[in-house]
Symmetry: C2
Subunit: 396 residues, 2 copies
């Protein structure tokens, strides 16, 4: 575009239409024993940025890991010494307390910024974030806002982190009592999923992360749902191979949705992957976070599947198969908070979150979803009664 300068004295400045195409690329890699001395993956990923020499990096580590992986800091140190041609760890790892609490304290972002400044990281340096979803979310915000974005390598250590929250494009911390009030969309430089970290998860966290896999399978992949249904007992009994396959396929489906869904940075109002989430977010809040995210999502999925059946969308056999599978994995299908009148405030909060218009995802069949703009509260009340009776029904 080389418009000539206007010569006329009557000036009429037409709008300039800006259009910026940007392509974000990153790999999600799978390994076992990322910091074992004979595992070159991390060094290879850092060496592959096209620049010669050792890359400056800092590591932020979830303190929860150190209880089970007592030698993790020693291993990180030994690893960076072994691969010093690729990695220059320029500071001791920064230990932060994991869990949702790490996101409730905006002051935790600041120490990371201080460290970035103190060791003089530039935009082409690396931050390694090692931990659960909450730590990755918090470190992600710090990395995205220092120098307008330092390269972030996410090393998620939970099922939920490896198959959903840790592989996507969001970060955030809570503020003003609101979940993820502060955050940005910022794709990572790479994601390295180390299955070994999953061994130290407690049973609740092991199971909890499967909820998002059930969700995305129900929305997009009936074969995957059948895999989960078939392996439900094995997963519940901590079969690592079954879990690895669940994580891999779930991650793949999530990545495909982000890249191919047409709205990776959620500029529009549709949120098809939030199936079951209006109730889940509300249940987390109503239970004072006694319920973990995945546990609440499992109930939310059960509720919206039951509503889909009662509304005439979903066949009875499929509905029952869904609830049986969720139960077989080990999830509760009903909690007292489901009967709180204020549960349905979750619908208006969800509408507000979407930007003013309600859009609820329901199931037409396993693997096929539909979005509706309004729902029938009395039908939801029936659905809750059915869930409440489910265990006795299942036994009968």
């Amino acid at each position: 575009m080389t418009l000539s300068i206007q010569k006329s004295t009557k000036l009429d400045f037409q709008p300039l239409h800006q259009c910026i195409p940007v392509t974000f690329r990153y790999d999600v890699r799978f390994t076992t024993g990322l910091f074992e001395i004979d595992n070159p993956l991390l060094a290879e990923v850092m060496a592959a940025d096209g620049k010669p020499g050792s890359k400056r990096a800092i590591a932020i580590v979830d303190s929860g890991l150190l209880r089970y992986h007592r030698d993790l800091l020693d291993k990180i140190k030994a690893y960076s010494e072994r691969y010093q041609d690729a990695i220059a760890l320029v500071a001791q790892p920064l230990i932060v307390t994991g869990g949702e609490a790490v996101k409730n304290e905006s002051k935790l972002v600041n120490p990371i910024h201080c460290l970035v400044n103190r060791v003089g990281l530039c935009r082409h340096s690396y931050i390694l974030a090692i931990g659960g979803g909450a730590v990755l979310d918090m470190v992600g915000l710090a990395a995205a806002t220092a120098h307008r974005g330092i390269r972030l390598i996410r090393i998620p250590t939970t099922v939920l982190g490896q198959n959903d929250s840790g592989i996507g494009v969001k970060n955030g911390i809570n503020a003003f009592g609101k979940k993820n009030f502060l955050g940005t969309f910022a794709p990572p430089y790479a994601v390295l999923n180390d299955f070994n970290f999953l061994r130290s998860l407690d049973d609740r966290d092991w199971i909890s992360g499967v909820a998002e896999a059930i969700k995305v399978a129900l929305l997009k992949d009936p074969d995957f749902f059948e895999f989960i249904a078939t392996h439900a007992k094995a997963i519940a009994l901590r079969d690592m191979e079954a879990m690895q396959q669940v994580i891999y396929r779930c991650a793949q489906l999530h990545l495909d949705h982000i890249s191919g869904g047409g709205d990776p940075f959620e500029m529009g109002s549709s949120r098809p992957l939030d199936f079951g989430h209006w109730a889940a977010h509300r249940l987390e809040h109503l239970s004072n976070y006694r319920l973990r995210h995945g546990e609440a999502v499992a109930i939310g999925i059960a509720l919206d599947s039951t509503y889909s059946y009662l509304a005439g969308w979903l066949r009875k056999e499929e509905w029952q198969h869904i609830l049986d599978t969720i139960g077989a994995i080990g999830f509760a299908l009903h909690v007292p908070e489901l009967t709180f009148g204020s549960l349905f405030q979750g619908l208006s909060e969800f509408r507000e979150h979407l930007g003013g218009e309600l859009s609820i995802t329901l199931l037409q069949s396993i693997g096929k979803s539909i979005e509706v703009g309004e729902v029938d509260i009395s039908l939801y009340e029936q659905a809750i009664s059915l869930l409440s009776a489910w265990r006795s029904l299942a036994v009968s």
Copy 2:
């Protein structure tokens, strides 16, 4: 992609390659008297988002404006009442002190987040940022990090804001004594350039903003440089029509560079638009910000043009024409800080900013640039001597 679940017991999880194409679009519009009651532009821009009804918005106003535009707040109020079908101003405008100081105080981002929370803005609400480049940078960071990005309408009120900093994709505040240490890449929802605000600029700010126009003309558009050279005296004498054309073409060239330059979010190391900027940033610092950004950039352009001549790239006549034009607009070509030995620390700071490798943009001719990976300090010292003598040379 619908890979089947692996059936083999030997699990081999191939890397998942994520590729996310995102297209950011926004318009830069030009007007005079944006908040005049008979100017529908702002209301039209907010109505054009495809959603019915009045859009919730807050306004952040640069206090510097109110000295000259005493009725601005009344006008904004009257405007939102007149166009209430499109705009719902849900709070009194928040007044913030303008100038670079606004970026040195991270506590100013927080009141905006508090306001967003208090009035319950969602991601599809609007923040109107009205002011100079520093206010736009600070408000931009606040808007980009609340709810992972509230729609930002920038209303730049300075030449520099309207032709460069206010139309691009960056925001930021200073921290740890470093310029723009904290910030993100976040395209605005729209930019509305109101020429009327330029009337109240003092002469230094009026002139200062022309430096980036000279820069981009030298890099990309010889005809535009000739326009500036021909109208240099008129611009210096505050000819509004000449200035409007300078702003329009400069904005167009900057927008084209961002969209077509291949690296809008600066993930690589090349920064071709930073011609003259290594010295400019350093001179701003060495002068304790006595020099305004544009004044420092003008000297940086003069210095790197002179170096380009001495290094044998640029013809003598073109070099002289460049320096004559910069001088005719009213810029000084030399300041005492140029002779400080620590000036050249600016080169290493610039290299660090780029991510480890130096890349300096020089001129081959007016409109044609070249990047070099190293420079000759002794040649720069000669260039500084030439600039120091320029006024006497020009007179002789």
